[in-house]
């Protein structure tokens, strides 16, 4: 089932300063959307509102199915959306256990968990670190693990907040490669917030500029 995200006239105000002003957009394809803009102009807020982690002051966020019927905002919808934070949010456990988390809580069988986790770890090039404690990974590796952890649950939407922040050039290249391969699979809509222009141009199908609370395409 293909999900469509409709952002309709959202407003968000912080300290009497509007960060998002009457913003509307439709994310309707399995593509990579990149939201650009300097720090502090509302990229993260916009991403969090889209991912249902924050509530807009005004306006609506709708996830619609292929028949344009909005879905209820319950656990079934939450399980189709995932968000990778800039700090990744690493559990004090092995890389394998971190990536397997989403599958474990969905009640998958052990055999399938092992197969799927190994497949994505291979995909992001972390197979050799499978048993290592994830807190000991470098920041580039941690970001890759975050992407793997999001991918393994086959979500409809993946939100990536600053996937290249604190990452060296080598790892940025690897992340670019992972995202381009992921795009070819056409399994998820990927929405990225970044201020890294060259990265955005390389991976993005649609580049959106967030300026003064509005989206410029």
């Amino acid at each position: 089932m293909d999900l469509k995200l409709i952002v309709s006239k959202i407003w968000k105000v912080y300290n009497n300063k509007p960060v998002l002003k009457d913003l509307s957009f439709i994310f309707d394809r399995k593509r990579i959307y990149v939201i650009m803009g300097p720090n502090g102009n509302g990229k993260t807020t916009f991403l969090k509102i889209c991912a249902l982690l924050e509530v807009p002051d005004k306006g609506k966020i709708l996830y619609c199915n292929s028949n344009n019927i909005p879905l209820a905002k319950d656990i079934n919808l939450f399980r189709k959306i995932t968000y990778v934070f800039p700090q990744v949010g690493i559990f004090n456990a092995s890389v394998f256990d971190n990536v397997a988390y989403g599958l474990k809580i969905r009640g998958f069988k052990k055999k399938e968990i092992v197969a799927r986790v190994e497949e994505v770890l291979d995909f992001v090039g972390l197979m050799h670190k499978k048993k290592q404690n994830a807190l000991t990974l470098s920041s580039g590796e941690a970001k890759r693990m975050g992407i793997a952890r999001a991918m393994v649950i086959n979500p409809e939407f993946i939100f990536l907040d600053e996937p290249t922040a604190f990452v060296d050039i080598e790892n940025v290249k690897i992340i670019e490669k992972i995202l381009l391969e992921l795009k070819e699979k056409e399994s998820s809509t990927i929405i990225i917030a970044t201020h890294d222009t060259s990265f955005a141009l390389k991976v993005g199908d649609v580049i959106l500029k967030l300026e003064e609370g509005k989206i410029l395409t």
């Binding site: 991912a51 982690l53 656990i75 939450f78 399980r79 959306i81 995932t82 968000y83 990778v84 934070f85 700090q87 990744v88 949010g89 559990f91 004090n92 988390y101 989403g102 809580i105 969905r106 404690n133 807190l135 000991t136 952890r149 999001a150 649950i153």
Partner: protein, 155 residues
């Protein structure tokens, strides 16, 4: 006071029984363990909770994940509580009464033997108690250390 025959809980006939000693030890250890567990859970990075949520965890699964992340802090609370309970003399002497073969424990024996002037026996028992306490603490510490990744263990 609560457990004396004329006290409010006197009808339970708990004074000078092991049950009363267990209750007293529980009352002593409970606040320490609760406080340390609470502080360990509060210390868990809020991003962990949000990450669990965005990976599709239900509120109950999120709570379990946070507890799991705080497990080593909770463990420290249990160690502190155990230390408090093992060294206790006063409270268990009052409610247990130090009855030989019934409510007499190592710490109360040491107190009694010291009073009687049997310093050798008191010292020997003290050494045994200290050794036991060391063994338990060291093994729990080693278990706890396993949870800290080597490169941040020095913090």
């Amino acid at each position: 006071m609560l457990f004396t025959r004329s006290g409010p809980l006197g009808f339970l006939h708990l004074l000078y029984t092991p049950t009363a000693m267990i209750i007293a030890q529980f009352v002593l250890a409970f606040p320490i363990i609760t406080a340390l567990t609470q502080s360990a859970i509060v210390k868990v990075d809020p991003v962990i909770k949000l990450t669990a949520k965005t990976l599709g965890a239900t509120p109950f699964q999120i709570a379990l994940t946070v507890i799991k992340e705080a497990r080593y802090g909770i463990f420290a609370g249990v160690i502190a509580g155990l230390g408090r309970v093992m060294a206790e003399v006063g409270a268990i002497l009052i409610v247990g009464g130090n009855i030989a073969g019934y409510t007499r424990v190592m710490t109360t024996t040491i107190a009694l033997e010291t009073d009687k002037g049997n310093f050798e026996l008191a010292l020997a028992l003290g050494i045994i108690l200290l050794t036991l306490s060391f063994i338990i603490n060291i093994s729990l510490y080693l278990l706890q250390k396993r949870g800290i990744p080597p490169n941040i263990a020095w913090i």
